[in-house]
Amino acid sequence: VSLETASRPPDAADDVQQWVLDDVAGLRRLRAGLFEALNGEPMPPDGQLDEVPEEVAIVATELATNAIRHGRPPTRVYLRRTEHTFVLDVADEDPDTTPEVAGPRAPGDGGMGMRIATKLAEAVGWYVDGTSKHVWAEFRIPPA
């Protein structure tokens, strides 16, 4: 199953931080960076981080692993935010292949990672911008 339509992430998001990855060895450092960045972000008065950093870490790993394994380098990971959401955007230089989502019990390929991503994030989509393919995932900051 392909992710159904090409779609853009929410427009009004501000940049928080970005990372460039060459290979899967960079994934642990990416997660450490994401934890640090997310924990340093101010929360809205009615919100709390709760399990968002753990969810973002898993989804970022899946999207970046797909980009590294199936896309073209470099892999860029952007963390952005609005008041009540965080947006992860993972880009690679292969605009021609579209992300696939597997059904349950299909381990070992990129499809299982996308399935996990679509279930942990509030929304997942993808779009092409010039020579880059972007897969994004949105996370809502839970109420306190």
Binding site: D50, G108, M112
Partner: protein, 131 residues
Amino acid sequence: VNTDRLLRIQDSPPRLLVDVDRSDLTRLRVVLAGELDALGAAELSEVVVDVLRRHRPDHIEINLRAVPFLDSAGIGTLLSCRCAAQLLDCVLTVTDPHPLAHRVLRITGLLDHLGVTGAGVPRSHLGGLKP
């Protein structure tokens, strides 16, 4: 050990700690702490193959209580360890998963297949974090 805090404050990226409880050689417990990603998965796989060879247990329990990070690479390895065990008439199951690991196993439809027992309670229900 509060693994969540560990993941957040360590300077160097954390790794997976693998501890084997050999107090019952027919039912070995492999207790993991940290991140079960592609790198950790390779470590786990090595340990499971080693204890299968050495002890020929009837049962191996993989305890995921202190594993808040489980990705598709980690899941792939849990499945291949289960297959390796099965070939030697050993049942491999997952016990006590961290709530996040439990969610990932539920999402991927593997709770029954991996014989998951225990935990899966949201962290906020365990007390200590919410006022």
